[in-house]
């Protein structure tokens, strides 16, 4: 029977959301092409874990090995290439995450199986996967097909597929003996490192003014600082601002920063790359100021201002201060 494999992703004893997003998409595809949906769980002492996956898949394959406890692409690749060679699934879904990015390309190369990464959709046309990807920072989409093969690997962009409440599938849990024979000689997991927390917790703020590369220079930062001050909010930012050292890393919003949900998120000079948007899209009210009317941030915002921030922001700051003065 045709099979679709979904690689479960977990870290420090918790499933990552992308696991269930992939299982939701996997289920839809398995119904469409009449395939079995199988979750793959690699880890150590993961029995209890497997039960949760069984609700979402027909089968759950578990491989229990101490060397799989923390993600190590070398160990994961060995196990997965063994499983895929044996089972020849039509499709294997992996998250386009820090794990998937480290794993999928070398796995596909070893197996000589076509791979499409960071897909925002995958469908089948005549048993051949068709994917949709974003290019040029989300300004353009690409529809692409994979070269004909027995098996394919696709990595899915996280936070893109909505998890649906469904009838539990009561999948069968199958323990597979670990195929890891020898050592894992090239790569060693040492530890997790968590940067120390800073002074401002942007996740607790009701109002965030968030600044991006459009601010151009660190000397211009007071423009947005004043706006945040006038609103009684905190200052957050996109990644390049942290990369340049203009704000500390705990102010960064996005996949590699913080996820925030303030009452107001005012994005100033931010293009709206998906890695940024997934950290703020659930804010109550989003207002974006960007001089490019095609900037993807306008697809996430409730209100947009297509203007030069240097013209609008100081005016806005003054208006807010006036408003506050007159109402107090």
């Amino acid at each position: 029977m045709t099979e679709i494999l979904v690689l479960a992703e977990h870290r420090r004893g918790e499933f990552r959301d992308v696991t269930f997003e992939m299982l939701t998409k996997g289920r839809e595809l398995s119904q469409k092409i009449d395939a079995d949906l199988t979750a793959v769980l690699l880890g150590h002492n993961v029995k209890e874990f497997a039960k949760k996956l069984a609700d979402h898949a027909k089968k759950v394959l578990t491989v229990d090995d101490a060397r799989l406890e923390d993600f190590n692409a070398e160990a994961y690749q060995k196990v997965l290439s063994h499983l895929i060679s044996e089972r020849k699934p039509l499709l294997t879904l992996i998250g386009h995450t820090s794990f998937g990015v480290d794993l999928a390309p070398s796995l596909a190369t070893e197996l000589n199986v076509p791979l499409a990464t960071d897909c925002i959709n995958v469908d089948f046309e005549e048993k051949k996967p068709i994917v949709v990807r974003q290019v040029y920072g989300g300004k353009v989409n690409v529809k692409a097909s994979l070269h004909t093969s027995e098996s394919y690997i696709v990595t899915l962009r996280p936070a893109t597929f909505e998890v649906q409440e469904v009838e539990p599938l009561g999948g069968e849990i199958i323990e597979i003996p670990s195929p890891l024979k020898e050592d894992i000689p090239y790569k060693k997991f040492v530890e997790y490192y968590e940067p120390p927390a800073g002074e401002v917790d942007i996740t607790a703020a009701n109002i965030l003014v968030s600044v991006g590369r459009g601010i151009k220079d660190t000397e211009n930062m007071p423009i947005v600082e004043k706006l945040a001050g006038a609103l009684g909010g905190a200052l957050a930012c996109s990644r390049p601002i942290v990369d340049k050292g203009w704000l500390p890393s705990d102010r960064q919003v996005g996949t590699s920063g913080k996820t925030v949900k303030p009452k107001l998120y005012l994005a100033v000079g931010i293009s709206g790359a998906f890695q940024h948007v997934s950290g703020m899209k659930n804010s109550d009210l989003i207002i974006a100021i960007n001089k490019d009317s095609k900037a993807p941030i306008f697809r996430a915002a409730d209100y947009g201002v297509v203007e030069d921030l240097f013209k609008v922001v100081p005016t806005l700051t003054n208006k807010i201060l006036e408003e506050k003065k007159s109402s107090s």
């Binding site: 820090s98 690409v142 529809k143 997790y192 490192y193 209100y303 806005l316």
Partner: protein, 262 residues
């Protein structure tokens, strides 16, 4: 430490108007400014920093058109010793897999301890080329690298995970590391500096020089085939506030007032 850095010459699109070209499979590039891929700027900087600290050499390599020499010369000005450009009509329309195969042929006989790439190219965003290249070379890799400490036999790296968490890994040398932005502060080079770097070696190789067959590269040697390129459909769009700065500011204040935010 002998390091090879893979760099890509890409269009700057964050602030540019973008339109799909008549083939429906590419964008119009005439009015776009091309420069080094943002992630690769951090990769070349990291290589030069290591050379300054530990000695050794830095070679930059790109697969791209003649115009990519601008990016190579910039890297030479930053401190790379040699540059290689891989150019051939047959290389056009290569995806990440075909690109990695081309780079592999050029790199496999060069001496190196380390290969650096960026986490992803800002144009096609595959986040694959370095990892495929590592697998073809039979060397280990680590991606999303935010910190590199080099020891004798291995490197200790911090990989960036989601939500600010990092994973410390030890990777045996020779290895491929794909670096993340923010790992260092890329240096600025002047036009003068770039001009001076003209004396450094820049080698150009094609299909035949690399011992590749036409079907191994380009679209036929790729994993994926582009069917269509399109501007994404708008599912939800912001209500655009219009007028002069004063008018816009007033509208925003009204909205905030209505929600009790000011």
């Amino acid at each position: 430490m002998d390091t090879i850095v893979c760099v890509k010459h890409v269009p700057e699109t964050a602030e540019a108007e973008i339109a799909v070209d008549s083939s429906g499979k590419g964008i119009k590039t005439e009015d776009l400014v091309f420069d080094i891929n943002e992630w690769d700027d951090y990769a070349i900087e990291e290589a030069v920093l290591m050379k300054e600290k530990l000695g050794g050499s830095v070679t930059v390599i790109t697969m791209g058109p003649e115009d990519a020499d601008k990016t190579l010369r910039k890297c030479l000005a930053k401190g790379a010793d040699k540059a290689i450009r891989l150019t051939d009509k047959a290389f056009e329309r290569s995806d990440a897999y075909a690109t990695a195969k081309i780079l592999h042929k050029a790199i496999k006989d060069l001496p190196f301890n380390l290969i650096l790439t960026g986490t992803q190219a800002s144009d096609d965003g595959y986040a694959q080329v370095g990892v495929i290249l590592a697998e073809l070379l039979g060397i280990p890799h680590a991606t999303m690298v935010k910190k590199i400490e080099s020891k004798e036999e291995f490197v200790r790296v911090n990989r960036e995970l989601e939500g600010g968490l990092e994973q410390v890994m030890e990777v045996k040398l020779p290895a491929m590391l794909a670096v993340q932005t923010g790992i260092n502060e890329p240096r600025y080079v002047s036009i003068m500096g770039i001009r001076k770097a003209r004396e450094k070696e820049l080698k150009v190789l094609g299909l035949g020089d690399l011992g590749l067959k036409e079907e191994e590269v380009g679209e036929s040697g790729s994993w994926i085939t582009m069917e269509e390129m399109f501007i994404p459909p708008v599912e939800k769009e912001a209500e655009i506030l219009t007028g002069g700065p004063d008018e816009i500011a007033a509208k925003i204040v009204e909205t905030l007032k209505a929600r009790g935010l000011v």
